[in-house]
Symmetry: C2
Subunit: 514 residues, 2 copies
C-alpha cells in the first residue's frame, strides 16, 4: 500500500498494531471515548510516601509486559529514566514497554536493557546517540513507534498507549503528590508532557528531590492524580535542559536565513495586531524572534500569544509587552523556567492542549505562524527531522507536524546545504511532516513557497525576497554538493513514524551494513 505522500507501507508489521495509512492531515476522525484510569479510594489517614524506587515498583505492582512512561522535561539532564530502568532490571522484571515523551543522549545507557530483554518496545518522539544507532541497525525485535508531541497525547487519551505506571520526576512535591516545576535543587518549568501521563496512567508515581510540606500549590500535577511519592537524592541536572539550545547566533548564514524569514512573516498578511507565533530553539529560529521584535516595535504590532517550546527571547518579548501570553508545554532554558513560576501571563499547558488533534480544540489550531527546522525537505515540501543523511535516527518528531498542520503559515528555515549534505532533495529519507502542511522554505540562497499557497506567492512578490521554486533550490544544492548516493536498507522495519492522527506516514528500515 502506498500512502498519500508516496511511501510504501507494509500490510503487516511485526510487533505493530493494525495498519492505518496516512491520507490527509485532518482525515482521520477519532472514534469512541477517551481512555480513563482506574478508580481508587484514598482514605484520610492513607500515606502515599514510600522510601525507595524499589518499594514503589513493588507497591505499584510492576510486572513483566507492562507499559511505563516518563517525561523528558530535563532533556539531557534527566536521571529518572536510567535510574528506574536500572532498578527494574535488578529486580529481574522483563519485557517492558517504555513510553517516554522523548529520549536524549543521556538515555543511551538503556541500550544494554534493550539487548537483554528488559526493554522490548519503545514509544517516543525521538531517540539519539548509541541507542538510536543500535535501533537503526536492527537491535530491537519490535519497531520503535515515533510520535509527535500531539500524537503522543492523542495516543494516550485515546487509550492507544495504555500506561500502567508513570514514573514522573518533579523538582518539588508534597506528601500527597502536588508537584511543581521549581524546587530546592532543580528547575524544569512546564510539566506539560508529564501532566498527560498523570491524567491517564493507572498508577502515577512522583519522584522528587524536594519533598515539601503540604500543600505544594500551585501544582502542575495534582493530588487527585497521584498514587505514590518517593524522595530521592537527585532527579536530574537542570543544566541539561538548555544544552545546545538557545544560542545567540552570529553565523552570517543563519542571520541571513532569519532576515528572509522575517521578511516573509512581515509581508505574509499574518503579521498584524493580535497575531500568534511559535519559534524553535535553533540558531536561525531564535534570530527570527530577534528580528521580529524590532519589526513589532517599529510597526507597533503586538502578538496575542507565543506558543511552544518557550525560550528566553520570547520571555523578554512578553516582559516588554510585545507578546501578551506565553503558552508553554516545555520550557527550553533556565530563564524561561523562572518566568513560568512567577509570571502570571506565562501559562503551563499540557501536551494535549498544545497539539492533540483529537480533542475539542488545541493551541496549534490557533497559531498564525510557526518557524520550524529541517534536516531535509523534498520538492513536495515533505520534511525530515528524524533521520540523518546516513539513514540513522538522530532527532525527534517533536511538535513539527503538529504546528505545521495547525498553523496558518508554516515556515521551514534551513541552510541549503550542511557540509557535504544537501538539505533540499528529491526525496527525504523519512517524512515527519507532510508537504501539504508546509508553506514556505527559507534558505540563505532563496525562498520557496508551496505552489498550493497562491495567496502567499502573490503577497510576497516584490518585497525584496529572493523567491525561487523548490526545484531551483534543490538544483542549487545539487550543484554545490552533488546528489548523495541513496542509503541502502534491509527490509526489516526498525521504526514506524506515525502522523499525529495515528496513521503511518513513513517507515524507517534497518540500515544495510557494509
Amino acid at each position: 500500500m502506498k500512502n498519500s505522500v508516496g511511501r510504501e507501507i507494509p500490510e503487516n508489521i511485526i510487533g505493530y498494531k493494525e495498519i492505518s495509512i496516512y491520507n490527509k492531515p485532518f482525515d482521520k476522525e477519532p472514534v469512541g471515548r477517551k481512555a480513563a484510569p482506574l478508580l481508587k479510594q484514598i482514605k484520610p489517614k492513607d500515606n502515599k510516601v514510600l522510601k525507595s524506587i524499589e518499594e514503589v515498583i513493588k507497591k505499584a505492582g510492576l510486572k513483566d509486559g507492562m507499559t511505563i512512561s516518563f517525561h523528558h522535561h530535563f532533556r539531557n539532564g534527566d536521571y529518572i529514566i536510567n535510574m528506574v530502568i536500572d532498578k527494574i532490571a535488578q529486580m529481574g522484571i522483563k519485557n517492558i514497554t517504555i513510553a517516554p515523551s522523548s529520549l536524549t543522549t543521556i538515555h543511551e545507557s538503556l541500550l544494554k536493557y534493550v539487548k537483554n530483554g528488559v526493554i522490548t518496545r519503545i514509544y517516543t518522539s525521538g531517540v539519539r546517540g548509541k541507542l538510536a544507532e543500535a535501533i537503526s541497525n536492527g537491535v530491537m525485535e519490535n519497531p520503535v513507534i515515533i510520535r509527535s508531541h500531539g500524537g503522543r497525547a492523542r495516543a494516550i487519551e485515546s487509550g492507544e498507549i495504555k500506561i500502567d505506571i508513570a514514573f514522573l520526576g518533579v523538582p518539588r512535591c508534597d506528601e500527597y503528590g502536588n508537584a511543581s516545576g521549581k524546587g530546592e535543587k532543580t528547575i524544569c518549568g512546564s510539566l506539560g508532557y508529564a501532566k498527560v501521563d498523570a491524567k491517564y496512567a493507572d498508577t502515577v508515581v512522583i519522584i522528587t528531590d524536594d519533598l515539601v510540606d503540604y500543600p505544594n500549590f500551585p501544582a502542575s500535577i495534582k493530588q487527585t492524580e497521584v498514587d505514590y511519592v518517593v524522595k530521592i537524592d537527585s532527579i536530574g541536572d537542570s543544566k541539561g535542559i538548555a544544552s545546545g539550545a538557545t544560542r545567540y547566533t552570529k553565523n552570517p548564514k543563519e542571520l541571513l536565513i532569519a532576515q528572509y524569514a522575517n521578511k516573509v512573516i512581515v509581508n505574509s498578511g499574518y503579521f498584524k495586531e493580535g497575531f500568534s507565533f511559535q519559534t524553535g530553539s535553533g540558531g536561525s529560529s531564535l534570530a527570527v524572534t530577534r528580528f521580529l521584535k524590532e519589526e513589532m516595535k517599529r510597526k507597533k504590532v503586538k502578538a496575542k500569544f507565543a506558543l511552544g517550546g518557550i525560550t528566553k527571547p520570547m520571555v523578554e518579548l512578553n516582559q516588554e509587552g510585545l507578546i501578551e501570553h506565553l503558552f508553554d508545554t516545555q520550557t527550553f532554558d533556565i530563564d524561561s523556567c523562572e518566568s513560568i513560576i512567577k509570571n502570571s501571563n506565562h501559562h503551563e499547558i499540557d501536551a494535549s492542549m498544545y497539539a492533540n488533534p483529537h480533542n475539542k480544540g488545541n493551541f496549534v489550531n490557533k497559531l498564525d505562524i510557526v518557524i520550524l527546522s529541517a534536516l531535509e525537505i523534498d520538492t513536495n515540501f515533505n520534511v525530515n527531522v528524524i533521520t540523518g543523511s546516513d539513514g540513522v535516527i538522530r532527532g525527534a518528531s517533536g511538535g513539527h507536524s503538529d504546528t505545521a498542520a495547525g498553523s496558518k503559515m508554516s515556515i521551514i528555515v534551513a541552510p541549503l546545504v550542511r557540509g557535504r549534505i544537501p538539505t533540499v532533495v528529491d526525496r527525504v529519507n523519512t517524512i515527519i511532516t507532510p508537504g501539504e502542511t508546509v508553506d514556505v522554505l527559507v534558505t540563505e540562497r532563496g525562498v520557496a513557497i508551496n505552489p498550493r499557497r497562491t495567496d502567499l506567492i502573490e503577497r510576497l512578490k516584490g518585497k525584496g525576497i529572493p523567491i525561487l521554486t523548490i526545484e531551483e533550490l534543490k538544483n542549487m544544492a545539487a550543484d554545490i554538493v552533488g546528489t548523495p548516493e541513496p542509503i541502502e536498507y534491509t527490509d526489516k522495519v526498525v521504526a514506524v513514524v506515525e502522523y499525529r492522527d495515528g496513521s503511518i506516514i513513513d517507515i524507517i528500515y534497518q540500515i544495510k551494513q557494509d
Copy 2:
C-alpha cells in the same frame, strides 16, 4: 433492609438504580475505571460560537430522555437553568433528567416543567421553595436523588451520572471556550462544580454574557473541553451569590455558640502551627472565624489552608498572613470572588478535588477542623440539613457529610432550639451525615462530645467549656419546647439521600396531607 444508621431502606425503589445501603464511611470501594467523554476532532477553521440557546440545543442533539447538567455558582442569582429549560420546553423536548450541582429558590419556576413531563428526574445537592414543597408532596414519579458535593463529583467521575450535555453559564469566555469567573457584567469566583461537568459531559456548552478575544487566560474551564459557546444578554445576577449568607452576627446566642466552638478548637489539640479548617457561611460559623482570628494572633499560630466555601473573613485572614492558602470550590461573596481572580494563594479547585471520596486524594481528607451547621442532630450525632420540622425538603446536602468524614474533628454549631422546634432530638427526620463522623455539638447551652472521641473528651475537660452529654442537651431542648409530634408520611419515596460513596443513607417520603 436496615442500614447501619438504623434506617429502613426498601429493597426496590421505582425509578432508582440498584440499591446499595450505607454501612461505614469508607466501606464502599470504587470499582472499574473513570468515566470519559466522547473523543472529538476540532479542525483549525472550525467555529464553536453559535447564535442562540435554541441553536445550541439543536446542534448538541438534545433529545427526549437525555441528562443535562448545570452549576449553581450564582446560587439565587442564576438565570441559566430556567432559561435553558424554558427553551427545551418550547422546543417540545420531554423526559429530561436535570443534574445541577444544586437548586435554589429561583429555580422554583421549574415546577411547571416537572408537572408537564419536561423534567422527569432531578439529581441535586438541594432544592428549595415551591419546587421542594411539591416534591415533598409527591409531584414527581421518580425520586429526586440528593448527593453531597463530593458525592456528585464521584457519581459523575464513576459514570453513575452520565451527562449528555452540560450547560454552563460563565462570566467570561472566548470563542474557543476558555471560561473564567469574572466578566464585564457578572462575577462568580470559583467554577469548581462546573469544572467537573466540563471534564466528563459528552457535550459541553458554555453560555456567557461577556465574549472576549481569544485567548481568555487563565481559564477555569478550557478549550479542550468545550464544544459550543453561546453569547446571551445576561447569565445571572451576582448579587444572588451572597443573599442571606455572610452576615456579621450580633445575635448573642450565635456569639455564645461561636465562643464555645472557638474554645473547643483552641483546646482540641488540632489548633497548632500549620493547621487547616473549613467554616460555613452561617452567622455562628462566621463568628467562629472572627474569634479564631484573635486566638491565632494571640498565640502566633498560622493555618496552612482554609477550605470551602470561601468567605470574606477567610480572605481577610489570608491577606493578613494568618492563612497561607485558600482552596475554593465555591465562592460565597463578592469580595471573595474578587480575591480568587487576583490573589495567587487563593486557588480554585474542582468539586472532585474538594471532596470526591473515590479519587486519589481529596482536600477534605487533609482537613483538621470543620465547623458545620444542623437543622437537627440526634442522640447518635446523626445530622439533618435537608428537611425541615414539617418534613419538607428545604436545604441541601452540600459538603456536610464530605467534610465531616474527611476532617480530624467535625464540630456542629447550632442553637438548642429554633422557635418552637428542638435541634437536638431522639431521631432526625433525615440523616445527611452519619453520627460516627460527627465529633462535637456546640449549642448555646452546652457542648456534647461524641463518646467515641474519648481523646477529645479528655482534652476538653477543665477548659471552661460546659460539657454535657447529648442526651442532656436533648432533654434540655425537650424541656423548653416539648417533643414535637412525629411527621406522618405515605410510603411513596420522593427522594433518595445518597451518602458520598453512593450508598443510601436515608429516604425521604411523601408527606401525608391533612
